[in-house]
Structures are given as structure tokens and as C-alpha cells.
């Protein structure tokens, strides 16, 4: 038996899902973080149930990826019962979606979530009356306190039924539905979809294509607008019947300050800067401790063991990979994700998008493009995945360039690990300034030369809430898990190959060929260029390789400060790591991926050469 959870973004679906299944899933306060289906299993009275958390949507008729996923899921036969989650504080807008879901005729129950918040806002909702108007069971609940959540599954199993509520459309629309049905035996739903220009019945679509312009002419509105208007009207009528408004809603003063013309941008810049600095300093502090502990507890004892040279080489490579992975995963990425989850759950992230809209327009995107850029500081891979939420190809192309250039935590490791340690803090921060300057410059140029049109931001601001510590930690853990289970194995395999190649003497050969070029252009010894090459596998591996190849962790003994600086700049800028390239190819296609890689390679070498010349 399979159940689906459906609702608007940010109504507490994921939280309910988590409470029902006990699985560590993401609970997001940013519309559209869950694009894929999340599935979980649970047992009820010895029956195994599968619960599917659908991405939050505003409508079932749109063309965005989330809406298409949800629509095809509901149309498919596999789901038996739908649990509609409604936000009691915004009942009318939530009913709009429920009325659409009702048209699909699946057995349903509704969960009226956030009853506690509605009560605080002075709204009293008559759940019994709502249930009789909709024709399905309505469970008043408060997911944050876990109230009535236990009643959802029994109700869905025993008392779910198809809703009786039906939207009465404008008489022109109803007439058009009837005339489509008189020609072709399609359902009311299919006729309605055909009128909006989608569906898979060619005849109905053709007929609808002839009827729609006439209706649009008479109403001076598009058919989807008329239909939306009718649904909103129906939702309004129902909500007026069931809501007893006790007091006028007040605006949050904190919200007014956060989004105000004067203070908003200042607070945004201060917040982002302090997060980056905090991650940088706390991360490098923790990394040092972790690496130190690892060194004395694991690596030194291992090296003391009497082993065959090949096994020792491979074993060392494996341990170094483990050390690099754990040294980065926890200190940098986890702390970064903690902060981001905090921003997300508090509802600030959507406000940040709003405030950044103007600046992002200059870079050829709009406010929603800020989120992937910020996520890029943690790891480029999920950030590139986030690009899918941008609506036009032009924006996705620009974003793919910019996100690939954002210094992720692996690059932060290089900056903190060699520049901050051997050259100085100011030099380390200057690399950030150079990189971000180049990101902005690239954006300014791309916004002028990238073809295609721009579509602006339409983004619901999530309500401001005090984030729940448990949810924040859980969400950060969920994100870091992806890193641990996807990136770590790759890192270990790559490290083993590296160890083997070194044992086989491959590096000496490569170094001899690359040395003259490397020294002439970048002023770096050949082995440093080899290390850069390995940075393509994972960025921080450039650092690990450099240390292995240089034969010492004290780089100042073999490289000048200028050389260290150039090495760091080039490895931060040039070619995104292999996982990023893989995701890029999936999201924007091979051509753009190649362009991004070539561009960053060229940029890295160019800037490296320039700095090398300046230093000389």
C-alpha cells in the first residue's frame, strides 16, 4: 500500500513525513528544496506501508519540474491514498491546491497542520464543517508539537474517500468541457487540462485549441487565468465558511526590519560575511585538531609497522584520503551546512533572495539565483543541483559558470591549509577577494553575451520562525551524509590510484615533460603542476598530493611564499572537480560543461601567470 503526502511548499509536509517514518529526512523552509521524491516505510497493524513525500507545489497544472513530478505521480496507478497537508494559517491558498487534487478523484484525507499557529494569530477553524464541505476527513494537527500526527495513518487506511467538492467553472469553460466530451470520450479532468494546453489526447487538445481563443476573447483573460480565478473563488467561499477570524493580523516588526530598504541589505551582507568568516576560522581550528589527532593516533603507528613497500604506499594513500575527507567533511562543510540550515529554517533565506534580487540582475540572474551561489561555498555539487530550480536556460547557464567558480570548502582547505598557514591571513583572504571579483566580472560579462530571455523572481517568503535545533542538526546531517557516502568513496579510490602511480614511478615521467612549461608560465616546479592535476579529482587533493610529492609537510622548505600563493590561486580557480563536472553535464549538458571547464582552466592559468609576473 502506498500513500502520498501532498501540499504547498513549506506547510510541514516533510516534518510530518519524518514523524511518521522516523527517517532522517530534510525539513525545509525554502520553497523547492525537495525536487525529488522522498520515500519511507512504516508498519501499521502488521501491514507494510510506503509513504512518499512529494515536492511542495502551488498547482498541478504548471510546467515546472516539481509540478510535473507530482502530476505524473498522482496520475500513476501506484499511489492509493493521498494525504493533503494544509497550512491552517493560509487555509485559502492551500485549499486552492486541494481543489485541484480533488479533481483527480483519488481517495484522500486532509491534515490541517499548524493549528497552534493559527490559534496564535486569532483564527478559529471549524474542522468538522470543512470536512463536510470537502467530503473527506480533516484532521486538525500541530506537527511541531506532534499533536494528532498519530491519527493520520489510521484515518488514511480506513476512512479515506474521494472528495465530493467540485469547482464550478465559468459557464464558458463548462460549455467547452461539455463540447470536448461530446466529441471525444475523455474525463472532465482531461478536458479541463486540454483547455489549458496540456494532456496526451491529441483530438481533445486540437478541439480545445480551437475553443480556447474564443473564450479568451470574451473574457479578456487567458484560460488558465479564468480557471485559477474560479478555483480561488471556490477556495475563498469555503474558507470564509469555516474560519472565524477573532482578531486582525499584525505584521511582524522583525520582518519589517529584515526586509527594509535601509537595513535589509546591510544585515544580509553582514550575515553572509560572518558565516563565511566563522566557517573559515572554526573550520581551520577544528581541522588542525582532527588532523593532529589522526596523525599521532593512526598514521604514525601505521608507518612504524614493518610492511611491504607497495602495501605501505597503498595503505598510506588510503589513510591520507580518510584523513583528508574527515578533516574537511566535519570541520568545514558541516559547520557551513549548520549555518545554512539555520538560515533556511528561520525563513531568512527567502528574504535574502528578495534583497539580493537587484544585485543578481546585474549578474544576469535574479534573486532565486543567490541560493545556489551561497550553497556553492559548502560544496559545488548540491549547488549545481539547485540550479535546476531556475526557470530559464539562460539563467541556468550563467549560474553554472558562477557556481563552479565559487570557492567551496575543499578549496577553503587549500587556502586555509597553505596560504593562511605559510603566507598569512591577509593573503588567504585576498584569494577570496580575487575569486569573488572574478565571479562578479564573469557574471557581468555573461549577462551581456548569454542568449535567451530572462524570467524574473516569483518567490513566496516563508514565514519567520524560530528554528528548531533538532531539525537544523538533522538537516545538516542529511546533507553531510550525501558528501560522506558519495564523495568519500571517490576520494579513497582516487587516492589509491595516486598511491599506486607514485609507486610505479609514473610521476617522475610526467614531471619531466611538464616541468619546463610549468616553470616558465607559473614559476612552479613540475611536481606542483602534477599536484594541480590531481586537484581535478577533488580539490583538496591538490594539497595532499603536493605534500606527498614535495616529501614534506613544511612547504616553506621547498617553495617560496610567492609559489605557494600562485599554487593556491590556480588550484582554487581552475577546472571544477570531477564530481562537479559530472553534475554539470547532467544539469546543463555536455557543451556548457566543456565551456565551463575550458573557461576556468584558461582563467586559472592566466591569473596564475599574471601573479607570477607581478611577483617577479
Amino acid at each position: 500500500m502506498r500513500l502520498g503526502l501532498i501540499g504547498n511548499p513549506n506547510v510541514g509536509k516533510s516534518l510530518i513525513f519524518h514523524q511518521l517514518t522516523g527517517l532522517g529526512v530534510e525539513v525545509s523552509n525554502y520553497p523547492g528544496t525537495t525536487v525529488d521524491l522522498t520515500r519511507g516505510n512504516l508498519c501499521f497493524q502488521n501491514e507494510r506501508l510506503e509513504l512518499v513525500d512529494l515536492p511542495g507545489v502551488y498547482s498541478l497544472d504548471g510546467t515546472s519540474p516539481e509540478e510535473e513530478i507530482v502530476r505524473s505521480f498522482i496520475l500513476g496507478e501506484e499511489v492509493e491514498v493521498l494525504v493533503a497537508v494544509l497550512d491552517a494559517t493560509h487555509l485559502e491558498r492551500n485549499l486552492y491546491l486541494l481543489l485541484q487534487v480533488a479533481e483527480y478523484g483519488k481517495p484522500m484525507v486532509a491534515v490541517l497542520n499548524m493549528m497552534d499557529e493559527a490559534a496564535k494569530k486569532g483564527k478559529e477553524i471549524d474542522a468538522g464543517r470543512l470536512a463536510s464541505m470537502l467530503g473527506i476527513e480533516v484532521i486538525p494537527a500541530a506537527a511541531i508539537q506532534g499533536k494528532n500526527i498519530a491519527e493520520i495513518i489510521p484515518a488514511a487506511l480506513c476512512r479515506a474517500r474521494p472528495p465530493i467538492v467540485q469547482v464550478k467553472y465559468d459557464h464558458h469553460i463548462e460549455a467547452a468541457i461539455r463540447s470536448i466530451q461530446s466529441v471525444k470520450p475523455v474525463t472532465r479532468l482531461q478536458a479541463l487540462q486540454a483547455l489549458q494546453g496540456f494532456g496526451n489526447d491529441a483530438d481533445a487538445l486540437e478541439l480545445a485549441g480551437a475553443l480556447a481563443p474564443e473564450i479568451e476573447e470574451m473574457h479578456r483573460m487567458s484560460v488558465p487565468q479564468i480557471i485559477a480565478g474560479n478555483r480561488h473563488h471556490c477556495a475563498h467561499t469555503i474558507s470564509r465558511e469555516v474560519i472565524l477570524e477573532l482578531e486582525e493580523e499584525k505584521r511582524d516588526t522583525l520582518d519589517s526590519v529584515l526586509t527594509s530598504r535601509r537595513w535589509g541589505p546591510l544585515i544580509l551582507v553582514a550575515t553572509l560575511l560572518s558565516i563565511l568568516l566563522a566557517v573559515f576560522f572554526i573550520g581551520s581550528f577544528l581541522e588542525e585538531i582532527l588532523v593532529e589527532v589522526f596523525e599521532t593516533m593512526v598514521i604514525s603507528p601505521f608507518l612504524a609497522l614493518p610492511l611491504d613497500p607497495l602495501i605501505q604506499q597503498l595503505g598510506l594513500a588510503f589513510l591520507l584520503a580518510l584523513q583528508a575527507g574527515l578533516g574537511i567533511a566535519f570541520p568545514f562543510i558541516f559547520i557551513f551546512y549548520l549555518f545554512i540550515s539555520l538560515l533556511e529554517d528561520s525563513g531568512y533565506l527567502t528574504r535574502a533572495s528578495f534583497l539580493a534580487d537587484r544585485a543578481m540582475h546585474r549578474l544576469g540572474m535574479h534573486g532565486q539565483g543567490l541560493i545556489p551561489l551561497i550553497l556553492g561555498f559548502g560544496c559545488n555539487v548540491p549547488a549545481i543541483m539547485g540550479i535546476r530550480l531556475l526557470r530559464t536556460r539562460r539563467e541556468r547557464v550563467i549560474a553554472s559558470f558562477l557556481v563552479s567558480m565559487v570557492p567551496c570548502s575543499a578549496r577553503t582547505v587549500i587556502i586555509a591549509g597553505i596560504v593562511a598557514a605559510f603566507v598569512g591571513i591577509a593573503a588567504a583572504l585576498s584569494i577570496y577577494v580575487i575569486t569573488l571579483g572574478l565571479v562578479i566580472l564573469t557574471g557581468l560579462v555573461l549577462s551581456r553575451i548569454t542568449p535567451g530571455e530572462q524570467y524574473g523572481m516569483i518567490l513566496e517568503l516563508a514565514p519567520l520562525r524560530v528554528p528548531q535545533l533538532k531539525n537544523v542538526v538533522m538537516k545538516s546531517w542529511y546533507r553531510i551524509r550525501e558528501f560522506l557516502f558519495i564523495a568519500m568513496p571517490l576520494l579513497i579510490v582516487a587516492s589509491l590510484i595516486l598511491g599506486f602511480l607514485q609507486y610505479a614511478g609514473f610521476f617522475d615521467l610526467f614531471q619531466q615533460t611538464i616541468s619546463p612549461l610549468s616553470e616558465a608560465v607559473l614559476g612552479l616546479p613540475g611536481y606542483a603542476t602534477t599536484a594541480l592535476l590531481f586537484g581535478i579529482l577533488r580539490k583538496e587533493m591538490a594539497l595532499e598530493t603536493l605534500i606527498i610529492l614535495a616529501g614534506t609537510a613544511d612547504l616553506t622548505a621547498v617553495l617560496s611564499m610567492g609559489q605557494i600563493y600562485v599554487f593556491a590561486v590556480v588550484s582554487v580557480l581552475f577546472i571544477p572537480c570531477i564530481s562537479t563536472i559530472g553534475v554539470l553535464a547532467r544539469v546543463v549538458g555536455a557543451r556548457i560543461t566543456l565551456l565551463v571547464s575550458m573557461y576556468t582552466l584558461f582563467l586559472g592559468i592566466l591569473i596564475g601567470a599574471l601573479i607570477n609576473m607581478l611577483i617577479k
Partner: protein
């Protein structure tokens, strides 16, 4: 007996045109009477007159069929009504219902030349979706109002489709409030009790008027 009043005749033919497009079956006399908000018995003499003039045929089962001549007149009046109503509401900013009533009066007297020119004026630029974009210059958009304004949406004309806006409760006839506006006119509007942030290019496609 004198021939009947032109505007009444035109109203009848227009009504019959609208009704016969609405359903595949021919309209009945009582449907026509309901559409014109009159009693069915009052229409008898007028319908007979029109039958004599060759505008309509009354079939035995009380259904009314338009002749070619009648259908031509009727659809011309219907077109005039639509064009006038659109002009009044979209260019002059009248309430759509009031515009329709006004169009009912003007449609009988407007000359064919004036109608053709008005039709051409309102159709430019061509193409579905952007055919009413010229209203942009005349109707004020969301961008023209300060923070705190309570506004009624008159029309929404997004180049990339406005379904998402309609889903969020921003569609013609609905009331929205501007909660915040930044210097570059990125705005937050409140619709259906939710705050929605819009880029300037989106806000400039939402045409509104002040609600008292």
C-alpha cells in the same frame, strides 16, 4: 406595421449568436428571453417581425435558428461589443462589468470605420499572449505605487506565462497589498495572506488600480 427598433434587433441577433456558440444545440425562445432578462411571451411579436425580415427562422420546437443574414449582423455586433468592452476596460481602465454595459449601448451606434480602426488599434502588436501589451503604457503597474498601497489587479501579462502568479492568488479582480518595495522596485506583495517577492520585470506586467 413599422419595422422594429434597430438596437433591439441587433441585441436579439447578438444574443442568439452568443447562445448558439455556447452549446451545440440551437437556443430556445425561453433561453433567449432569460439571456435578455425578459419574459418569453414578450418576445413573440418581435421574433415574428424578425422572421419576416429574414433574420431568423423559428423552428417548431421553439428553437431559433439564425439565417445567414442574421448571423452576419449578429456576429458583427458581438465583435463590436467585445472590442468596445476591451477598449473601455484595458485602455481606459474601466471596471470590466461597467465596460461591458457601456459597450452594450455604444455597439449599436459606432460606425463601421470607427470600429475597424478601434479593432486594429487594440490588436496591435499581433500574436497571442502579447496582443494586449500596448495597455502597458496606459494602465499603471505595481511599480507605480508606494509601500502600503492596497490595489486591485486589472490584468496580468507576463511574457513567460502568468500561471504561477495566478496560482499564488495574483489574477485579475483580486486585491493585493504592497508590503515592501526596494529602490530598484523589487517588491513584496501580500496576496491571499501570503508574502510574495517579485522581480521588477514581473511586477511591471501586473496592472493595477488603487482600491478605496
Amino acid at each position: 406595421m413599422l419595422s422594429m427598433n434597430t438596437s433591439i434587433r441587433e441585441d436579439f441577433l447578438e444574443a442568439l449568436c452568443v447562445l448558439s456558440r455556447r452549446s451545440p444545440q440551437l437556443p430556445t425562445v425561453s433561453e433567449l428571453a432569460a439571456y435578455l432578462s425578459r419574459g418569453a411571451s414578450e418576445l413573440t411579436s418581435e421574433l415574428q417581425l424578425m422572421e419576416q425580415e429574414g433574420d431568423i427562422r423559428i423552428l417548431p420546437d421553439e428553437r431559433v435558428e439564425l439565417t445567414e443574414k442574421g448571423s452576419e449582423t449578429g456576429s458583427r455586433v458581438m465583435r463590436k461589443h467585445q472590442v468596445l468592452a476591451r477598449f473601455l476596460s484595458e485602455v481606459l481602465g474601466m471596471d470590466p462589468d461597467a465596460a461591458s454595459e457601456e459597450a452594450c449601448i455604444l455597439e449599436h451606434d459606432i460606425s463601421d470605420e470607427a470600429f475597424e480602426r478601434l479593432d486594429r488599434y487594440i490588436r496591435r502588436p499581433r500574436g497571442r499572449g502579447c496582443r494586449m501589451l500596448q495597455g502597458r503604457a496606459r494602465l499603471p503597474s505595481l511599480l507605480q505605487f508606494p509601500e502600503g498601497s492596497v490595489l486591485k489587479v486589472l490584468s496580468v501579462r507576463c511574457p513567460g506565462g502568468c500561471e504561477r502568479l495566478a496560482d499564488m492568488g495574483i489574477f485579475p479582480g483580486e486585491t493585493v497589498k504592497i508590503v515592501h518595495a526596494l529602490n530598484n522596485k523589487t517588491v513584496v506583495v501580500q496576496a491571499k495572506g501570503c508574502d510574495i517577492a517579485l522581480s521588477p520585470e514581473i511586477a511591471s506586467c501586473i496592472f493595477v488600480e488603487k482600491r478605496e
